[in-house]
Symmetry: C2
Subunit: 712 residues, 2 copies
């Protein structure tokens, strides 16, 4: 009896008809008891089958000795028995043709080796046969159907936010707060330790769930990163995904091994990945709550223009500071709006923030809100109220209600405590999000607008096609190196490879002896540069292997001999295979860095920024992921400061070519082009270094780009 083909695999988790509670209990405060109570208390319309061999009934419901003895097809089993009993119970569930199980019980991997063994037993029975949420979780809620399959106190209000949390405690705190602030949820999921169902599955499900308009995530570990990223990429185009990811400090402590990899921390990569899949990553619990409060009640802002109505100057100034600081703007009021305000305000009123003055009545607030509701330039309204002598916080809340759910979002900030409490409750009831401080409101508004704005161009972008790329030339160089068991390409090979993808390089030739070096120098014209040519040494400068500004033949001869002897002394004569000769470029531009590395979780990564000797000092750089498109190339550039100094189109072109190289040649493990310099309207690589994956890998197992560009 397989589930219908049209059903999402998790459908029965969230819309079960028959639920078994394995480990249901009569003992007050036990999880098995609270869970039964919650299921019975809400208006859930299906059937509940407690399972416990020691009882014949629990809370008035007939109790069954085992899952097999239930006389109906169970859609969802919730297991709350001790950890060591769970594997056998899961086996029974599989036998009974269940497809959905929630394991509430704790005592698995968090308890060390014995717990890990239990998890393996569970997976042995369940893998490929059923889906499991948990273990070590609080359960799930589906407020619109009255399903409360958790052991939390109380039930969430119905609404449009799916809250997915890796911490049960966060679930209870958010629940408590949401009841007070009247924030409603489509679902509440405590994901537990993700033995089976992970972030990707849940995103996929809630992406398709018509009740869910926003997805809010508290994450401690990402688990299956690829599944999460690909689901996020699909879903985030239709529904905002807001993420609080913790564990920055732990990740920061881990040392990066890879060479170019040491330039970007893991957390930076994670943030870049979130940007790529259009997930809004936030940093604090306050933001999590504020975002939920806003999105549960109001639409996403369509633009940055905010109108502020306030009965006090100070809070208006604070709000304006925050708005401008976030890149938002105050609405410029139209003449008709100004005219309407002239009629109700004192002569010297300031057009935005609109100070209705300390004695503003509820009627004046309402009139101001009404005028603003007709102002086409306004893309959001913030109503600030401070308790002053003539202020009526409660009536003001009531009076602005009619203007709260028109085209643009309305927010409120009723400042203070006891005296405004009743008004605040009303605002929540009217689904006007109310913030403790006006700057918090503004930050929430501006973050959501910026996030929405970033998505717009992506919806229409096409993938680029480049003709310049000589795939086979690169393959040949790589195969040639692999044939000789080499993974480190020399400077000459590396430059040939990037050249093959249209990146200009300084002419570079190999000289095996002094005569060849002089000959090449004369061919290029003085001054020239000599660099060590070695199949083994990559850091040439460290062994005295770089000589700049050589003005004549004697200087070239001297330099050749010096490099040879210095390498011989510092590394051994075997490391000297000659020199490369290249013209000395005297330019007046900037030194950039362009590189790639391969990350275990995120695959190939592209790094761009300020290069040269300042690279480790200024750290003006950003990471992105191949394949780059025009827009992603531009975003990568714009996250650096050095970007301002460079011809945009040539840099964009170079980034796209580099991205193609990385995508089409998965053997490339790392690539460092440092420096690549700016010449008038062009870029030119002065040095390059490529490292390959070990040849014993199968080509199809090599890390590939995680972020495949979506098709139109």
């Amino acid at each position: 009896m397989a589930p219908s083909r049209n059903l999402h695999p998790l459908e029965k988790m969230f819309t079960p008809q028959n639920i078994a509670v394995i480990g249901a209990s009569e003992r007050m405060h036990s999880v098995g008891h609270t869970l039964m109570r919650n299921l019975l208390a809400a208006s859930f319309g299906g059937n509940i089958y407690p399972v416990n061999p020691k009882h014949s009934s629990i809370l008035g419901k007939k109790c069954y000795p085992s899952i097999k003895s239930i006389p109906a097809q169970v859609d969802l089993a919730i297991i709350v028995t001790p950890a060591k009993t769970v594997p056998a119970i899961v086996a029974e569930c599989v036998e009974a043709h269940l497809f959905s199980v929630i394991i509430i019980s704790a005592g698995f991997k968090e308890a060390g080796a014995p717990g890990i063994a239990l998890e393996e037993q569970i997976l042995f029975h369940a893998r490929g046969r059923m889906r499991i949420i948990g273990p070590n979780c609080l359960g799930v809620m589906r407020p619109s159907t009255g399903l409360n399959a958790t052991f939390a106190h109380g039930m969430a209000l119905p609404g449009s936010i799916a809250f997915l949390s890796q911490s049960g405690a966060f679930c209870t705190a958010v629940l408590d707060w949401s009841l007070k602030e009247q924030v409603g949820f489509s679902s509440f999921v405590s994901i537990g330790s993700m033995i089976d169902v992970g972030w990707g599955d849940l995103l996929d499900y809630f992406g398709n769930d018509p009740e869910t308009k926003t997805i809010l995530i508290y994450m401690e570990s990402v688990g299956d990163a690829k599944a999460f990223l690909s689901a996020a990429l699909r879903v985030s185009y239709a529904k905002p995904i807001i993420l609080l990811k913790v564990g920055r400090s732990a990740e920061a402590a881990q040392a990066a091994i890879s060479h170019t990899g040491s330039l970007a921390g893991n957390d930076d990569l994670f943030s870049a990945a979130m940007q790529r899949v259009h997930v809004l990553r936030i940093d604090s619990i306050a933001e999590l709550f504020n975002m939920a409060n806003f999105l549960a009640k109001q639409p996403v802002p369509k633009g940055p223009h905010l109108t502020i109505i306030t009965n006090a100057g100070g809070p208006g100034v604070v709000a304006t500071d925050a708005l401008i600081g976030m890149g938002g703007q105050l609405t410029t009021l139209s003449p008709s709006t100004i005219g309407a305000f002239d009629a109700i305000l004192s002569p010297h009123w300031n057009p935005n923030p609109i100070d209705v003055l300390g004695d503003a009545s509820p009627e004046k607030y309402a009139k101001a809100a009404q005028i603003i509701s007709k102002e086409k330039a306004s893309e959001g309204t913030l109503v600030i109220l401070t308790p002053q002598d003539m202020t009526d916080p409660t009536k003001t809340a009531e009076f602005i209600k009619p203007y709260a759910h028109l085209q643009t979002p309305m927010m409120a900030s009723w400042m203070g405590c006891d005296s405004i409490e009743e008004g605040k409750d009303l605002l929540n009831q009217y689904q006007i999000p109310v913030f403790a401080y006006p700057d918090m409101a503004v930050n929430t508004f501006a973050s959501l607008w910026k996030h929405a704005k970033e998505q717009q161009p992506l919806k229409i972008e096409k993938t680029e096609h480049l003709d310049l790329c000589d795939f086979h030339k690169v393959e040949k160089i790589i195969q040639n190196a692999q044939a000789k068991n080499r993974t480190i390409l020399d400077e000459w090979e590396s430059k040939k490879i990037i050249q093959a993808y249209g990146i200009k390089t300084v002419p570079t030739e190999i000289a095996r002896n002094v005569d060849e070096a002089v000959e090449l120098a004369q061919k290029f014209g003085f001054p020239v540069v000599l660099k060590l040519f070695s199949l083994t040494i990559t850091h040439k400068a460290k062994v005295g292997g770089v000589k700049l500004n050589l003005n004549d033949a004697p200087a070239v001869i001297k330099a050749f001999r010096e490099i040879e002897s210095s390498v011989g002394q510092l590394a051994g004569p075997d490391h000297f295979q000659g020199v490369t000769v290249q013209p000395m470029i005297n330019w007046d531009g900037y030194e950039l860095l362009l590189g790639s590395m391969t990350d275990e979780q995120f695959g190939p990564v592209i790094l761009f920024g300020l290069g040269g000797k300042l690279v480790e000092i200024i750290k003006d750089r950003a990471v992105g992921f191949p394949p780059l498109t025009k827009i992603w190339a531009q975003r990568l550039m714009r996250q650096t400061k050095i970007d301002q100094a460079i011809n945009e189109s040539s840099l964009e072109q170079t980034l796209l070519q580099f991205s193609h190289l990385i995508v089409q040649h998965p053997w490339i493990k790392e690539c460092d082009i440092n420096p690549i310099i700016t010449l008038k309207d062009d870029l030119m690589a002065l040095d390059a270094r490529i490292i390959l994956h070990d040849a014993h890998h199968k080509k199809e197992d090599l890390p590939k780009p995680v972020f495949i560009q979506r098709k139109e």
Copy 2:
């Protein structure tokens, strides 16, 4: 009858015995009525004299027709009459020998020209004769004496924070919130538009006020910057000063103009100045409230080591992330502490955050708090509680109370709303600051610790004395230029000046003609640099006036001619007075910028950072104020990234020398040393440009350093 010489000039504002209320009223909700009610309602022990010619008594108090008719010496008059009547009333107060007046009335400079005229009339009468707070303010409170001379609703709790606000609305919001959160104040001052009493006066008063331990400021404009800065410098050594200064953005500054009629200064300079006077500048209202909540109830942290007790993992991880992100550290528990926890926690407990688990009883929380109170390495404790099945938020608050006021600060974060409300109220009552979210608590703790830490080295620092500085040589060069009516010094003069203060410069000599140029080039040795020598042109490169890397005499001759002709064409032959010759420095270091400018509010300012062509792109620089001491020089350096690349002691020495130059020669208006380059362990200026103040200034009127180093 002048006030006693030992009294602070503002003493009678805050501890008056006899108070006149001019404009007292029987009309409900009028300011004059509310103010009378507030004065009468609190336990203030002195006498209140309503003044209003239309009444014989107000609220049961005998009413007087004028200030003169009051039969006692009035200490403080509070004026609430319409703006246009205020100047005459102030004149009467002066006649009646009053020394302290609070003007509540609005309608002055915020109302445009007529209001400004009224202010001038007030000052005409009052200047030098009495002190005035206001106009356009809410008044002042002194909770410990029961003085409530405001028209706010309610009275603040007594405590140790002085809250000074330029927004009346902020006063009412803070008041409302403080009553709920049990935050007490030594004083509450609404400063209004600062016609007389400004920030400097108030800081001075509360710096000496034994009841005040912390000063909290909401500021829209700084007013008399020097008075504020010098008072802040004195007071901040003994009492934390926390400042929310708004008006960062242009738009916000505009809003502030129309609000209080004041200007906001350059924000970066302002921030640097706050750092210099050890004022903790914060950015949001939430921080203002959080800091007040912490400092009202707990001591300033002595170190960064925080211990976290929590009944849930997630919030502990969030708190840890925030702590590490702010530069704080988790306490490393000692063996005896670990032993004590082993006895009460499950086998796999994690030493910090200490997870007492979801079923933690109040007793277990208390035991954990008790153990931590004995841990010497712990410099602060955060107790996190999330509402779980077995949790008792109220009892837990009660049980941890005994450990809340020992050596180190304790904070709490009871997460949620209704279910923890009672516990939260108890914590507030016990003066344990409770934060909505654990990361907020951590941020508050870490900010206060960092701020306290920054002050420590300053307490013991001596001013540096440098012998290298040739004062008279510089004076002579300056006088010589002034004698010729010049304010722009040429490169040669500028370099001689900085040389005189021990800053190494590249040898630079003037050549009036080609022959002199060749001769100098041969003296220095090739390659050399030729630069335009002009008494009028400062941007030499723009007129083709810089030629680098000249390798022989013919090259020098060619370069000389090219500069001459290019300047002749682009600017005119009058601008060519020859060239300077200097050896070409081929170095492998970094280009820095060292400069000074003169700000209207803050006097001379020193700028340091990355120089050369990246200067405007990367903007890696910081501002500081002369006189620099070793510590201030180091702080200036450490605010840049390029600092890491430079020999610390030579840079420090150079900064100190430069600071002396600026301090000892106030004629220097601007100085640009760009680039000054790094050579092994040394710095060398390649270019320099100095601009003087106009000679028609009197020397004693020239802007001087605002920040005089405090003496031991």
